[in-house]
Amino acid sequence: MTPVVQLDRVSVRYGRQAALRDVSAVFPPGAVGLLGPNGAGKSTMLKSLLGFIAPETGRMEVLGLDVKQSPLEIRARLGYMPESDAHIPGMNAVSFVAYCGELAGLPKADAMQRAHEVLYYVGLGEARYRNLDTYSTGMKQRIKLAQALVHDPDLLFLDEPTNGMDPRGRDEMLELVRDISRNKGINLILSSHLLPDVEYTCDHVVVLDKGTLAAQGPIASLKGHAGRVFELRVKGDKVPFMAALRAAGIECPAPDDEVMRLFVPEHTTSAVLFQLASAHGLQVRHLRASVPSLEDVFANAVSGAR
C-alpha cells in the first residue's frame, strides 16, 4: 500500500523551541489517528504537511507529492479542518462553504451545489442560511468539516474534530468521520488527544510525545503486542515498588487513581508481582488480567518515549 503521508527525519522549530524532532512516520491509506498529549506536536505536524511551517530538516510527502515543491497541488487534493474556531465573518453557511469550494478551484455553480449537499451531509441542512456568527460550538465544528469536504479531497486533516461538542454531537461527528473514511473512500488523519475518538474511527495510529515519534502501526497489532496487561491495587508505599517493577522490565505508568495498569513482558508471570509486593512489604488487594486498550498503547508508548 502506498502511504498517503510520509515524513522522513522531520524537525520543526519555533524559534528555540523544538516542536518536532527527527520524526519519521508513515500514514497508510484509510483512517489514521495522530495521537499525543497536548503539546506533543500533532498540530505542528499537520501544519507542516499543509506547508504553513517549513521544517528545519527532513522531507515530507503527501499523496506522493513533495510538500516543499508542490504545496498547491497537495492543497488542491486535501481538506483541512483546523482545531480552533475558524470561519469567514459575515457569511451564511452555504455562502461560506460554496466560497471555500470556489477557492479550491470548483466552478461557481458546482461549488454552490456541493455546498448544499455537504451541508446536508454534515447535518446543517436546516441551518444553512443562518449567519455563521450565530452558530453554536458544535455547529461551527460541523461547518469546518463541511468546508474541508466541499471540494471532494482525497485526504482530510481533522484537528481535534470533537472539541467543545456535547456527547450527542460528538457521537454524530465520530459517525461522520467513520463514514467518510470507510464508505466514501476518503483518507483521513485524525489528530486528537481523545483515545476513544481515535479508537472508534481509525485503524492505524501514529503516537507523538514531546515532538518525537513514540509509536506507530495498526491499532490491533499495537494492542496485541508487548505481553499482557494487569490491573493491580496495593496497600502501602508505591514509589519504591514501582521502581522495582520497572527494574524487573514491567512497564508501569504513573496511575491516575489507586489501580495501576502494568504491562508485563510475555514470559513473566503474575507471580513476580506478588514476590515484588511481598519484598516491599505491600499487600496486594486486587490483581486482574486486563484487555489491552488503545489507552495502554498510548501510555506505554509515551512512557517508553520518556
Partner: protein, 280 residues
C-alpha cells in the same frame, strides 16, 4: 427511496486553473461590501464633488463670463483629485480596515491558506477590493470629468493642448490607491480589531501631517514633507500635473518616501499573512 440523495457524493466535475483565487476573494468581498448601506452612502457622497465640477465645467464651456473665473485648466483636475483624497481616506478606513483584521479575528487565514492559493493571491485579492472602490472615487470620476469637458466644449482643443492630463490623472490616482491600499492592508494584518486598525490608520495620517507642519514651522523649512504620505503625494501630484508651485521636497525624494512606505507595507504583509502565527 429518496428522489435525490442528500448524502456525500464524490465530485467528478471540472476544477479551475490555478491563479484565479484572487478574483474569487475580490468578487465575494466587493459584493459583500456593496450590500452595506453605509458603503453605498459613502460612495454616493464621494460623487458629489463630481456633480459640482460637472456643473462648473458646463458653465465654463457655455458662458463666456464664467470661463474667465472658473475656466477648466489642468489644475481643475488636480484640485478635484485633491478633494477626492477626503473620500479616499474614508473609503480606505471603512472598506480596508476589516479586510485582513476580520480574517484574523475569525482565524480565517488558515482556512484560506489551506486551499490551493498562495499568500500573494490572498493579498492581491484583498488589494483588488480596495483598488476597485478607490478607483471608483478617484480615477473614474476624474476621467469622466475630462470626457464631460470635451463634450460640453464641443471640441478636443483642451485635451490636445493638455494631453498629459490623461496619464497624470491615471498615474496620480494609481499612486493614491496603491499607497492607501498597501498601508491599510499592512495595518489590517497587524490586529484582529477593525476599529483599532481604523484608528491606527487615521492616527498615522493625521500625526504625520501634524508632525510635518510642526517641524516645518520649528525649522522654517518645508523639507519635512516626506514624513507625511499625504504631503509627499501632493508633491508628486504637482509634478504630474505640471504645476509651477514650488516643491516642498525634490520629486526623487518624494518617490523614495513612497517606495519605502509601500515596501515597508509589503514586508509587514509578508510577515503577518501566514497560515500559522508563531509567538516567540
Amino acid at each position: 427511496m429518496p428522489i435525490h440523495d442528500q448524502g456525500y457524493r464524490r465530485y467528478s466535475g471540472r476544477r479551475g486553473l490555478r491563479g484565479g483565487a484572487w478574483w474569487v476573494i475580490a468578487r465575494a468581498t466587493i459584493l459583500s461590501e456593496m450590500r452595506q448601506r453605509r458603503v453605498i452612502a459613502l460612495l454616493l457622497l464621494a460623487w458629489a464633488p463630481f456633480l459640482v465640477r460637472a456643473v462648473l465645467i458646463y458653465a465654463a464651456a457655455n458662458f463666456q463670463q464664467a470661463s474667465s473665473v472658473i475656466g477648466t485648466t489642468p489644475q481643475t483636475f488636480r484640485e478635484f483629485l485633491d478633494w477626492q483624497n477626503v473620500f479616499v481616506f474614508f473609503v480606505t478606513i471603512l472598506i480596508g480596515a476589516p479586510l485582513i483584521a476580520d480574517d484574523r479575528r475569525a482565524n480565517a487565514l488558515q482556512i484560506y491558506l489551506a486551499k490551493p492559493l498562495t499568500r500573494v493571491e490572498y493579498i492581491v485579492g484583498k488589494l483588488a477590493v480596495l483598488f476597485a472602490f478607490l478607483a471608483f472615487v478617484t480615477w473614474v470620476p476624474a476621467m469622466l470629468l475630462v470626457l464631460l469637458q470635451v463634450l460640453f466644449a464641443g471640441s478636443l482643443e483642451f485635451l490636445t493642448n493638455n494631453l498629459f492630463i490623461l496619464p497624470a490623472i491615471t498615474l496620480f490616482s494609481l499612486l493614491q490607491i496603491f499607497v492607501s491600499a498597501f498601508a491599510m492592508l499592512a495595518l489590517s494584518s497587524l490586529s484582529p480589531s477593525r476599529r483599532f486598525v481604523a484608528m491606527m490608520y487615521a492616527g498615522i495620517i493625521f500625526f504625520t501631517s501634524a508632525m510635518n507642519t510642526a517641524l516645518s514651522r520649528i525649522t522654517d523649512s518645508r523639507s519635512w514633507a516626506w514624513i507625511s504620505p499625504n504631503d509627499t503625494l501632493d508633491v508628486l501630484a504637482d509634478a504630474m500635473f505640471r504645476l509651477a508651485t514650488p516643491r516642498a521636497i525634490p520629486v526623487p525624494l518624494a518617490v523614495g518616501a513612497i517606495v519605502v512606505l509601500v515596501a515597508g507595507s509589503m514586508l509587514v504583509l509578508e510577515r503577518r499573512v501566514r497560515g500559522v502565527e508563531v509567538v516567540s
